[in-house]
Symmetry: C2
Subunit: 210 residues, 2 copies
DNA sequence: CCTATACAGTAACATTGGTTACACATTGAA
DNA sequence: TTCAATGTGTAACCAATGTTACTGTATAGG
């Protein structure tokens, strides 16, 4: 395990910390589309992503959902982190976007390391910083863009995360992520196809024109 | 100055830190509607609110704006804080919602204190936590609520901040804050008035039914 | 007092996005 | 092979929001 942690985080942490991480951290693996954390789950450890990607979703009381952002290798979830420090419950839902490995750090250690390791402290601040930026970006997207632009951004983000211009998903799934209806997505996708921006197939969309 | 800092933050910081704050902090005062920071301004110090309230706005490239949240006494701006640590430029605009006093802390001190004072570290984390929560709330609002519900929430928030059910503003200003048009706001306000939820006057709205 | 300006009310219309309904194709399981 | 479940295409309609245009009124400054 040490090797994997080392690969993903060596550019950030000193060796001593890396060893502590691999001592106390618990390795977990998730299959594609497996739920990692649900809204209301109590949070007692903090995840470090070793490989794969995670989709972070917000849900309202009616169960309507909205994609907030993706997490990748080397990221942690500042939302979870925030919950950890407040010993609170999760306000978001996390789903594995692809097969994903992560290492769970118990809260106590995470707090201890903040005093002990400067690199850890910097990492935690940097995480908060990234997450605030992502949230701002999400707000910009839903506040200032129309659905067609949001859809295109979604496809690009997803293509980037998967390092593949062939996005494997259904119209219904996109509709869930963007908090709209399947019909709207089908309609807009068709328009994009006519413009030559994408090519449509059952269960997949090819992003042609970035 | 020490007294004011003490009043606003004594429940958080130890005396030694409070004294450091009043030594290196620079007191600034802003009139109602005065701009505190603009998008793109470089951030070299971090504000602690002593009194008053600040409106935090996001702007897109066309100058369209959107209210993110309010800051009150005892708050700091984690966005600014985030910028400080990254030595970056402001991604938001801050405007005094009412006459406001704040104390500016130079970046160097703010970083130094993170190692030096646990209370400061906790305060900074707590700020990040609050800001993430506020951002989530903002996202919920624009993603899941209709304009009439957003308007009502806006009026309630504003009444709360001003501790006064008489909200002094214009339809145009509300439209800017909610990123919509004046006509839409006038229309919805009229509907709320007919329902007896509010009473309308020139330059002010009375929130009757919380 | 007079007048320019800001503020508010409202109608008519355009656009975007959401809903319902149905057709048809693909796929996997019985 | 057959059938049910899932995915997609599309029309028709509806609701929410945005736009344009015009009205009248309050207010501040000359």
């Amino acid at each position: 395990m040490l090797q994997e942690v080392f690969d993903a985080y060596s550019f950030v942490f000193e060796e001593e910390l890396l060893e502590e991480i691999s001592e106390v951290g618990i390795l977990k693996e998730f299959k594609e589309n497996e739920m990692i954390i649900a809204i209301g789950d109590s949070v007692s450890s903090m995840p470090l992503l070793l490989s794969g990607a995670i989709k972070i979703l917000r849900e309202d009381q009616d169960g309507d959902e909205l994609l907030l952002y993706f997490l990748e290798r080397g990221d942690t979830c500042a939302m979870t982190l925030s919950c950890c420090l407040g010993h609170a419950k999760s306000e978001i839902r996390a789903v594995a976007e692809m097969p994903t490995k992560l290492i769970m750090i118990p809260i106590e250690k995470m707090e201890e390391w903040i005093s002990k390791y400067k690199s850890w402290r910097d990492f935690v601040f940097e995480s908060y910083h990234s997450r605030l930026s992502e949230m701002l970006d999400t707000i910009d997207t839903i506040a200032f863009l129309n659905m067609d632009e949001r859809l295109l951004k979604y496809l690009r983000d997803k293509a980037k995360i998967n390092q593949n211009e062939l996005v494997q998903t259904t119209h219904q799934q996109i509709a869930y992520d963007l908090h709209t209806s399947r019909v709207v997505i089908s309609r807009l996708l068709k328009k994009l196809e006519l413009k030559g921006t994408i090519a449509l197939n059952r269960n997949s969309i090819e992003v042609i024109d970035l």
